[in-house]
Symmetry: C2
Subunit: 397 residues, 2 copies
């Protein structure tokens, strides 16, 4: 997979600027524009409290088309009532006029503090500069502008060969706090120049989100603003990929790799995290059982603090399995930390010291074999540290 | 309500000693004995991974009778397989011989690290001293001996007038970590000299546990060892209380006060906690809706870190409501911190500064009015601090 700095899909331009939305001195406003109208798909938070921009995007996406996305960080425009909706519409209207793109082709996303109206004066003042920077800013600048408590920008690219030509999928995202089952304050933008039929891209995106972003958890909280938007502008000139296309497989695989890669970046940058954790449950009776077990472990504060403290405290994993609702037998369960099997048939395997050594790694894989069936599930998370508490106790102040 | 040091119910004696179960230098073994066989009732963890002593108690409690309880801290005897069950039975057998009480009348509880067999040699060596201390130790000593990460022993007493006589209900408990819906590593022993019919005491205990211990949460984890045992030895000499007795009401009220009081002590001593939090949700469509909403808020790491940081970040409460599954409308919701209404009709009430001031209190009440119906629920919890992480990262090491 190619990283930051390598080419971008054809026909996309970027612009960023600073509007001092939360505080001055950083880029917090960005726009992504496709030269031509693109096929679009989106996935949104399932939280019943939805931010104004989310509600707006959910309406727009029914058309399956779009050409531009404007994003701000520093303020979520959530729990802001009718004013919030008017503000989102005003930003779209003003930006669409400056950029010459119809408002109906414009999407908007926000991330940051909940419950405070957007500083519309400062945003309006910044729009001319935003328009002026078009083409000067890079995709990496956009990734930076959308960060909240993220410690690094998250960008990935993946090439795909389609009909003798090489297309590209680029993805950027931000996360860090409130990442939870069903992707909490996660913003992700996926851009491709490969032509894909709308129905196909919508179903591929849903599948990718389900298999990657919806399988990560940082603190069990779910946000009001989660949005994943994908644009396919077709400028590669290929025959649009459909459900029966021979290029469906490679495209699906590349999309999965980009979203999975971004999901891994998200957990490695979980608030205060020092370690990335993969929880892999196998031998479950059903996929639902495997998933319940994996999420129960990945959401346990006690498991996550133990991993942080290099403590092979597998009893906490057993306890999390026990209250997960998964059907299994304690006396058949095996648990490993990386390659060290600490529990065999539900009992200590006397390898706690080796396991504690293994836990010093920055990448931890917890493998649980329930020996109850053939289903498995993987959930990504991170360890749980004093720094998480510190960040979240001081987030607004 | 009377506190520590005041009289105890007639006919109970206590004994404690140190067996160096986890480490030397503290009392970690205790026994509670009634002079005469007592009517007994119990509530146990719903975690499917149950410690050996829990499984043993669940069998014994079917008889509805008992005379003694032996408890150890420092080791949970959980995930210890057949050996764990043999060890629990051996302790009961040896202690019952020394104390001259039939093994069938003996209950056993353990709390501490999971997955390590009990140090049977050290426990057996300590049993003679345990027998020797009978009557020398106090109920407060027992409360101290069962502590794990608790910072203070928890004992409450409550007098009840029954048929012209004054009986007593005494309760002791330990908690601190893993307290969660359905009372995680919670041990609680309730002792009374008031005669109560077995069926009646079993139903009163279930009700009290449901309304108090099952309504507290510290970290969302649920343990393998939760046990609440109640003994009623009848030595007050009253006519046994039944479901139709005129003393049912006062007895039920007193029992509720003892368990509610202990539940409040548990959350105020949550691991690393600096504040006790009451989450009160009213105006919900159904009791289940109210409970879901209250638990969702009380289990949110983000809400609990904000309270710790004196940050009136009500957006996190809205988000927690939104993913709780409760039916409500954002635009009808009111939220208060203590007496400061920060949200009115789903929008900021511009009182964040006063609310931040209110949050400096050690007792926080979050009131949410959904204006959707007439049901309410209250859940007790505590704030979430760096200290929690520290304690749980270093628990075993």
């Amino acid at each position: 997979m190619k990283k930051k700095g390598s080419g971008i899909p054809k026909g996309y331009s970027f612009s960023t600027t600073g509007a001092a939305i939360k505080k001055p001195g950083r880029k917090d406003l960005a726009v992504i524009v496709s030269e031509v109208p693109a096929v679009m798909a989106g996935c949104f938070t399932t939280n019943s409290v939805k931010a104004a921009p989310v509600r707006l995007c959910m309406k727009r996406i029914r058309s399956g088309r779009g050409q531009a996305i404007i994003v701000n960080s520093g303020n979520a425009n959530a729990c802001t009532g009718k004013q919030g909706m008017r503000d989102a519409e005003e930003i779209i209207y003003s930006t669409s006029k400056i950029l010459g793109i119809p408002p109906s082709m414009f999407y908007i996303c926000s991330t940051g503090v909940i419950g405070t109206p957007l500083p519309m004066g400062r945003i309006n003042d910044a729009l001319p500069a935003l328009a002026g920077n078009r083409g000067i800013s890079s995709i990496d600048d956009v990734a930076e502008a959308i960060m909240t408590t993220d410690t690094f920008p998250k960008v990935l690219h993946k090439r795909v060969r389609v009909g003798g030509k090489t297309g590209l999928i680029s993805g950027i995202c931000k996360g860090a706090g409130m990442i939870a089952p069903d992707m909490a304050t996660l913003l992700c933008f996926l851009l491709t120049d490969i032509a894909v039929e709308q129905k196909t891209i919508a179903s591929l995106l849903r599948e990718a989100v389900r298999r990657t972003f919806n399988r990560i958890t940082i603190d069990g909280d779910m946000s009001t603003n989660d949005t994943v938007l994908m644009m396919a502008n077709g400028l590669l000139g290929n025959t649009p990929i459909t459900g029966r296309s021979e290029y469906l497989g490679p495209f699906r695989k590349a999309l999965h790799e980009v979203t999975y890669g971004l999901a891994k970046l998200l957990v490695s940058d979980g608030e205060g995290a020092t370690k990335a954790i993969e929880v892999y449950v196998r031998g479950a009776k059903t996929p639902a059982d495997a998933e319940k077990a994996a999420f129960s472990i990945a959401n346990s504060n006690l498991v996550k603090t133990a991993i942080y403290g290099n403590d092979a405290n597998w009893g906490r994993i057993m306890a999390a399995l026990g209250y997960s609702g998964t059907r299994f037998r304690e006396e058949r369960t095996d648990i490993s930390f990386n390659d060290v099997k600490v529990v065999k048939n539900g009992l200590s395997n006397d390898r706690d010291r080796e396991a504690a050594e293994a836990l010093k790694s920055k990448e931890i894989r917890i493998t649980v074999d329930l020996h109850a069936g053939r289903s498995s599930a993987e959930v990504l998370t991170c360890d749980f540290t004093e720094e998480y508490v510190k960040i979240n106790a001081e987030y607004r102040t």
